[in-house]
Symmetry: C2
Subunit: 420 residues, 2 copies
């Protein structure tokens, strides 16, 4: 820790960072291929030593979160994706799904110390950790990060509100870590019981949205800093807010990409897509892991001085698989349709009407030459209808739209049917 | 770890052990006096370097668990008994009372690895830890012990029974750690749902009584070993069972005494009294800590080959303070009465009748010369009645009884009144 930054990595140049991460990537891939049968299969035929830059990385398949359950059922408990035997992990977890995860066997295995530091926590501070420690790994990510940073943790869990206020009164924690909603409950109960909790200066939230109005309310209640971090059970911390509060800064040991849902193809800076993460973790490596979460890359650096790329934070779920007339339709299928027609740059499948009486329209942004040529457009339209049928076994309509006219929300399938 | 024992300490000679522990004791006491104002006060005037054997240890005051709450209120949060600042502890806890405890800042701070080993757990085993991790330290004691031993822990907590069975099915833990009653719930639910949990071979229980009939039932359900350990939130593990299942073997870093409740005076081997523990822990030292729990020392060594002294396990609570005609009567007061009359070796205050119409009789084992001399006995009786009045402000009767005729149950005050 040095001054305003957790370490010097946070302020290095983009070139330095990319050289460092891509310098380490071939060894990570080779290690995963050699020690984790699941990765050997996923990355079959990949020559690790050639994956030395972004374009090489983009040739690797994306492993999507939605695939984990099946992989784990076929090769319990971790789908062959962990490099060490089950009994050699410090701890083992079960997340909703159920999906199982091992704790990697090194200090601060989920890299949360950096996020705690950015949220104002320092060695010797006392943190009330209000994530639940049972079965799922969230609380442990914070706990291990605090061990690394040198903070004392009160393992409080969620609930037992009055007892937690007793703890706050007696142990005077400097910071809260947990969900925004439980922080709100604690503050409201403290006011009701007239308990002074003004020692709580910092809060670091995760696991659910923190609306700006709620953040403002926390500040009005006396909290100096209320920041967020983003992570998943498989990856740990991927990005975190700094005091600049302009997006989330990517962790120094993650390589992120934002891709068109259902594909491995990066979208442009600013465009909403699925967050795909490669994470330098030898025990439970993740190489192009598709989180299923939507986000967008923010252009330019953070005003706080950290130089890593920033993302907008969680913008919804990318897994838009839906069922139409008894058939599943996946974002991957929409991507397949688009790829068969070079004239189409981007598409969005809109499902409307009611269940059992629904209609299907593929809205396509076509290159501008098509846009202005009616016969060509009609021919493309007809070819697309055919491809929809080939790929999805469903009859659908096509609507060609102007370039950049589709909403920037990461949606590839927009199911507008009412279910109530 | 070497063969059947966690380390060579377990099989050293009694002399070697006492020389080791008493060799380290002066430094522990000096450290506590120098760095913890609460201990400086408690051990005022004690010359640490002279506390080199059991008789010197017995001159120190007992700090009773019942005193902690007041000490902590006067000097929050730890009553001045911790040697490091609050923010430098890895974790902070709140136990019922509330009483607060810091986690000592070293590996396996509560010395549970030894108990896990004795219960059959080995590096690479997977443990399902069914103590609750929130606020209280019990689960953490096991968790840190497993880290030291090299076992993987599933931090499961208590409750969520069906989800815990999903975890058992998927992660196949070798061992259960938790309360006997929750183990019973898990087994019964597994049978009801026809889930195979036969991978669970070992169980290590604590925190409540394990009746022999329940231990037998666990074995009938397929568990190979169901053992227990004993500890407190302040001390961590004090004693543990081995496969011999003859009492609990004292931990290698604790010095134990069993004293007459309310005093610091050791009782004879086999006699029930209050467990007093001195524990080599630099961050939260405990020097003659009166647990308030009753136990007795078992004569002779354990057949398993471990040479340390054994205790019988938990035999009830020593704190027998009661209220008689509006006045509190404490075990310490009974001890004071006894000390004023050298002819009396042991006494038991029996309270009988009904509330508001109760009678008070001090049963005294007097030396045998008195026993056989009626005038001397009558004179002693009269002097005792007077002392009872002086010490308790209450009128009571005295009954002189034969030596060794009082029950061996650690009771100094026996309140036989009915409260319903």
């Amino acid at each position: 820790m040095s001054g305003d930054f957790f370490d010097a990595l946070e302020t290095r140049s983009t070139t330095e960072r990319e050289l460092d991460l891509f310098g380490r990537l071939p060894a990570l891939i080779a290690h995963a291929q050699a020690n984790a049968p699941g990765w050997a299969k996923q990355l079959q035929g990949v020559d690790a030593k050639t994956i030395v830059n972004r374009s090489a990385l983009q040739t690797l398949p994306v492993l999507r979160k939605g695939q984990l359950k099946d992989l784990q059922s076929a090769a319990p408990p971790f789908g062959g994706l962990a490099t060490r035997p089950v009994g050699q992990a410090p701890r083992l977890f079960m997340s909703p799904g159920p999906i199982f995860e091992p704790q990697p066997g090194h200090d601060d295995p989920w890299r949360v110390a950096r996020a705690l530091f950015a949220a104002g926590m320092r060695p010797g501070h006392v943190l009330q950790n209000c994530f639940g420690y049972h079965l799922t790994p969230g609380a442990w990510m914070v706990d291990e990060g605090a061990r690394k940073l040198g903070c004392a943790v009160i393992p409080a869990g969620i609930g037992q509100t009055e007892q937690q206020l007793d703890v706050i009164r007696a142990l005077k924690p400097d910071a809260y870590v947990g969900t925004p909603s439980f922080l709100r409950i604690l503050i409201e109960k403290a006011r009701e019981l007239n308990i002074d909790i003004s020692n709580l200066k910092n809060a670091l939230c995760a696991a659910e949205a923190l609306p700006p109005s709620l953040r403002q309310w926390f500040k009005e209640q006396g909290l100096e800093r209320v920041l967020q971090w983003y992570g998943t059970a498989e990856l740990g911390c991927v990005a975190y807010e700094s005091e600049a509060q302009e997006g989330m800064i990517v962790d120094e040991h993650c390589l992120i990409e934002v891709v068109r849902p259902g594909t491995g193809d990066p979208v442009a800076v600013g465009e909403v897509g699925e967050l795909v993460v490669t994470c330098f973790n030898n025990d439970y490596p993740m190489i192009r892991f598709g989180t299923g979460d939507l986000t967008a890359i923010l252009a330019g650096p953070s005003p706080c001085g950290r130089t890593n790329v920033r993302i907008k934070g969680w913008m919804g779920r990318a897994d838009q698989t839906t069922k139409i007339r008894g058939m599943f339709v996946h974002p991957e299928q929409v991507a397949t349709i688009v790829k068969r027609h070079p004239e189409v740059r981007k598409a969005r499948l809109v499902v409307s009407g009611e269940m059992a009486n629904d209609s299907l329209t593929l809205h396509c942004e076509a290159v501008s030459s098509i846009d202005q040529d009616e016969p060509q457009a009609a021919a493309l339209n007809a070819r697309l209808v055919e491809t929809i049928r080939d790929v999805t076994k469903l009859r659908g309509q096509v609507s060609l739209v102007a370039v950049n006219s589709l909403p920037n929300d990461g949606k590839v399938i927009d199911d507008q049917r009412k279910y109530d």
